[in-house]
């Protein structure tokens, strides 16, 4: 096969300009990789979840009741749109393990008689299901088993309804209900301090005095059924039995966290790949324009000997396509590899029995197509010049660069050195290139700002949440409300220095057509431990009458201080009241609404009750406190702030290195790509002038200074722009990250900007060093022998 001369030229150009080609290809590759990674991870997670739910019959509707007779199930099953219903007993208990002094929780969940046919079916990993007749056999969740090295046959000490029991682990399992297993009162899953235990119904019925009754019901809906209508019907049926309102999947904790993750992934796919493709298109344009300028004479010659303008234009497009192919190849490999890494992270973080790693060829094809289109798009403007160039003009050397037009009146405002004047004029001579390079480097800064802010923000969130608002060392929550005198009992416990009561009541708060369900918290008037903070971080006192809503809730309900909202309590006497919104508070976790505890108790009309206590503990007596808290029969669960924080930080630390590394690499790819190409082109344009400066006695450093001065101007100009763009991306990411579960504060510290800039400076410096060698070997004599 004969390769036509133009094809051969394209290949040779590729080799000759390999460094510039590689720099562009890497930017393209980053675009492809992030596209594949993001879409692939999204599809993987989405598919995995869907298949898992499907295979294990994950329920659609969830409802808790205090105690409902099993006979009610007939009516529930008869609700129009209900495909299957399952009555369960779901109760919290405490862990009592030899290897753990600190308090831990266990969620007991009853198994149906025939676990093979129920909803939320277990995926058994080891061992067997408990014998339905046994009273002590249990299957436990995998993460928890791993954290405590429990295997089938091991004993498991628990406090069930205040009674110490020794259960026997018969199996280890996963459940679609607990893909993301968050313990009560926690912010991050901690498999050490929270596990799920599935037992036969009979043993839980006995332990919780629920013979012939259930405390939780899950429904599977028929296809096309209206979830809202089913929930309404279910709520009517469960209300007499302490039902506080059913929820759909979107409010189911595990599902909601997976949703949040999916939302973040899709945000990443929307932001990152377009940045890379845009920058790559710009680089292609810049580099190709210069190449075509340099090859004017060749182009003229080719035209003169009969090549059509189209053939020549196609030659340059072919050159660009070759770069795109290289970029796509690297990107596909990197994307697949990173995708595998991300999948492993998911496998670690979420409890799935399997991971569907979709290798949907469509994603690959689309990613490749878009990338090639971006590259060719960048080429088109440059190639247009080839089409319009008449051969005779092309063959004459270009006239000396004409600077007179916009230049002559340029800054003599400051006494600039002539080399600085050169720099300024050259930058102004090619405004499009200067601007697009500035923009490219700015994007690199922006990517870093937009990724690095989250760590500072999360630290801020921890600081505000745990060191300013929730300042208690531990929190004890009772299984059911206790009379106020429980406070005095608590103060007698070892190590307890301060005890502040609170009351939690399920509520639905509505404003016009908007409503949200949450747990309304009643606090003492001037809490010292668990405080409510205003947006300026000042502690708020509980208003005599009226609510303090968290900013997130106020936004969700579209209310402002002074508005009146309706509060329905689906508990006890089920009162409904209208209350003024007295203030808006800061809060990052969940939707929050606070009220004076006395006012709350008055409304509920059940006497002075409390749901739990916030405690300040003497560190020296901590172990004794843990033991005492555990053995108090009323305790449902205990959280220890220090453990919550350390788990939070540990989880972040695990992700932080990976994330920083990935983003720094991505940003560096852009910075290096832009800086290297910009500087190479500038050197190619000014090589002659720079060599002349050397002849005139300018040192290598001074000559390099001209080129690097130009680069420095572009890089410096890019910083504030990059900060700004990064800030804007950050703002939109906050929106993507925020859900009813979390609201991420947008705090960008100076160190974020500084770090972003430093990384980009380092990348620019590395590229500059690579080019420095070329400046040193500028051939002075060659330049003098030839005319431009």
């Amino acid at each position: 096969m004969v390769i036509s001369p133009l094809h051969r030229k394209a290949l040779r150009d590729l080799r000759r300009l390999w460094a510039q080609v590689l720099a562009i290809a890497l930017v393209l590759a980053a675009g492809v990789a992030t596209m594949i990674l993001g879409n692939g991870a999204y599809a993987s997670l989405f598919e995995t979840r869907a298949r898992y739910y499907e295979a294990n019959r994950f329920a659609d509707v969830f409802a808790d009741v205090t105690r409902a007779p099993r006979a009610l199930m007939g009516e529930i099953e008869a609700i129009d749109g209900v495909l299957a219903a399952e009555a369960r007993i779901v109760k919290l208990g405490l862990l009592d393990l030899a290897d753990m002094a600190e308090p831990g929780s266990v969620l007991f969940v009853s198994l149906p008689e025939n676990a093979e046919v129920g909803l939320n079916r277990l995926h058994l990993r080891q061992g067997r299901l408990p014998d339905p007749q046994s009273s002590d056999e249990v299957v436990i969740s995998e993460g928890f088993a791993a954290a405590h090295r429990l295997r089938p046959g091991a004993p498991l000490g628990v406090l069930m309804n205040g009674q110490r029991l020794e259960l026997l682990v018969t199996g280890i399992a996963l459940s679609p209900e607990f893909v993301y297993a968050l313990g009560p009162g926690e912010m991050m899953p901690d498999p050490r301090r929270f596990g799920v235990a599935w037992l036969p119904r009979a043993s839980l019925e006995a332990a919780f005095d629920l013979e012939g009754a259930f405390s939780n019901v899950v429904l599977k809906l028929a296809p096309g059924a209206s979830q809202d209508r089913v929930i309404a019907a279910l709520d009517r049926l469960t209300a007499p039995y302490g039902g506080i309102g059913a929820t759909g999947r979107s409010d189911q904790i595990s599902h909601a966290f997976l949703d949040a993750e999916l939302k973040q992934l899709s945000a990443m796919v929307k932001v990152l790949p377009p940045i890379f493709l845009l920058v790559a298109a710009m680089l292609v344009n810049m580099t190709l324009s210069r190449l075509i300028t340099l090859e004017r004479e060749q182009i003229g010659l080719l035209k003169a000997i009969g090549y059509s303008a189209r053939a020549i234009a196609l030659h340059y497009v072919e050159f660009v396509l070759l770069i795109a192919v290289l970029g796509i190849a690297i990107g596909l490999m990197a994307g697949a590899w990173l995708g595998m890494g991300l999948a492993q992270m998911y496998a670690h973080f979420f409890s799935f029995p399997f991971l569907v790693f979709t290798r949907d060829p469509q994603i690959y094809v689309i990613a490749s197509g878009i990338t090639a289109a971006a590259a060719v798009g960048g080429a088109i403007y440059a190639v247009r010049a080839v089409l319009t160039l008449p051969p005779a003009v092309a063959m004459a050397p270009p006239a000396p660069a004409d600077y007179r037009r916009r230049q002559s009146r340029l800054p003599h405002v400051f006494a600039m050195r002539q080399t600085s004047v050169m720099i300024a004029r050259h930058l102004f001579r090619w405004p499009f290139r200067t601007l697009s390079s500035t923009f490219g480097i700015a994007m690199s800064v922006a990517i870093l700002v937009a990724s690095l802010w989250s760590f500072g923000s999360i630290n801020h969130m921890i600081d505000v949440t745990f060191f300013r608002a929730e300042r208690h060392d531990a929190q004890v929550v009772f299984g059911s409300p206790e009379p106020l005198r429980a406070v005095y009992a608590a103060r007698q416990m070892p190590g307890v220095m301060v005890a502040e009561p609170f009351r939690l009541v399920a509520a639905r708060i509505s404003h016009r057509n908007l409503s949200k369900r949450l747990a309304l918290i009643g606090k003492i008037e001037d809490p010292r431990l668990s405080r409510v903070l205003d947006p300026a971080l000042r502690p708020m006192t509980m208003p005599e009458a009226g609510l303090v809503l968290s900013a997130a809730l106020a936004e969700a309900l579209n209310v402002r201080a002074g508005d009146t909202v309706t509060v329905e309590f689906p508990e006890g006497r089920r009162p409904t009241v209208s209350l003024p919104v007295s203030g808006i508070s800061l809060g990052y976790v969940g939707l929050g609404a606070a009220i004076d505890i006395t006012a709350l108790n008055r409304t509920m009309g059940e006497g002075a009750l409390i749901s739990g206590l916030n405690l300040q503990i003497d560190a020296a007596a901590q172990a004794d406190f843990f033991a005492a808290a555990k053995s108090t029969p009323k305790t449902e669960f205990v959280t220890v702030t220090a453990l919550t924080i350390s788990r939070f930080k540990q989880t972040l630390a695990e992700n932080i290195t990976v994330m920083i590394t990935v983003y720094v690499i991505l940003a560096a790819i852009i910075a290096v790509g832009v800086v290297y190409n910009f500087t190479r082109i500038s050197l190619s344009e000014q090589g002659r002038e720079l060599a002349s400066l050397r002849v005139l006695g300018f040192t290598r450093a001074e000559v390099a200074g001209v080129l690097f001065g130009e680069l420095a101007a572009v890089v410096l100009l890019a910083q504030p722009l990059g900060w700004l763009i990064g800030y804007a991306i950050g703002v939109s990411m906050v929106a993507a990250f925020s859900s009813d579960l979390y609201r991420v504060p947008f705090v960008v510290g100076r160190e974020v900007y500084a770090t972003a800039s430093l990384v980009v400076f380092a990348a620019a410096l590395a590229s500059a060093v690579a080019i420095r060698a070329r400046i040193n070997t500028l051939d002075m004599i060659e330049v003098l022998k030839t005319r431009e």
Binding site: D402, S408, R425, E689
Partner: protein, 238 residues
């Protein structure tokens, strides 16, 4: 000029061999040379005879393969890159066939480029006045004719008050009338600042304006003529 008095340049056995793969090109084959302060020397010779190579070595742009070259008490052939740069910066003015002006700087700014880094520069405007370009000092190279550009190049070369002025075919790209103007500028400068001036040219007629004429052939100086009666460029017939 009296030989031995105030010698600026000395070269002994100056040899330059270019290696292109297997091939060896002997550009200079043992050149011995001396120049006195303020001398105006014209170098003639066929193309490829080694004139430029010689000028480049003497000007500190290139290194010799063997032999010695001295400028005053600096041994050029012993200087490293840094030393040669300093030598060019402090002592040498260059003028080339292609003017090599910086296109983004005006005539005056091109001159200032040099005066800013020179030790004893003249005023940029004075240098331009010397070559008769005061009027055009705010023009960019693209706005100047070839002759004018070359005179800016000369102004730039002399603005540092160099001890030596090296010109490689300065009129090569110019028509003869313009060439005369350029040569007039060179002789004027030579007289005004007293720089030792070496001019390579193809034009034999130029010899009459020189103190001394060297003829190169095949990498050697084959003929040396001392002019006893120096003419002004305007008297020369081209």
């Amino acid at each position: 000029m009296v030989a031995g008095a105030d010698i600026v340049f000395r070269a002994k056995g100056l040899t330059k061999v270019y290696r292109i793969g297997e091939l060896e090109v002997h550009a200079l084959r043992g050149v011995d040379f001396q120049a006195s302060r303020g001398e105006f020397i014209v170098i003639l010779g066929p193309s490829g005879s080694g004139k430029s190579t010689f000028l480049n070595i003497v000007g500190g742009l290139d290194a010799a393969t063997a032999g010695e070259a001295w400028f005053e008490d600096h041994q050029l052939t012993a200087l490293d890159e840094r030393g040669l740069t300093q030598y060019r910066r402090d002592h040498v003015g260059f003028v080339f066939q292609f003017y090599n002006l910086v296109p983004s700087l005006t005539a005056r700014e091109n001159v200032q480029l040099v005066t800013e880094i020179a030790r004893h520069p003249m005023k940029a405007d004075d240098a331009l006045a010397l070559v008769g370009l005061s009027e055009r000092r705010d023009h960019f190279p693209a706005q100047l004719s070839g002759g004018e550009q070359q005179r800016v190049a000369i102004a730039r070369a002399i603005a540092k008050n160099p001890e030596v002025l090296l010109c490689d075919e300065p009129t090569g790209a110019l028509d003869s009338a313009t060439g005369i103007k350029v040569l007039e500028s060179l002789t004027l400068v030579n007289r005004t600042i007293g720089a030792t001036t070496l001019v390579i040219t193809h034009n034999a007629a130029i010899r009459d304006i020189a103190d001394r004429v060297l003829r190169f052939a095949d990498g050697q100086i084959v003929e040396e003529t001392v002019n006893t009666t120096k003419k002004n460029p305007s008297e020369v017939t081209w």
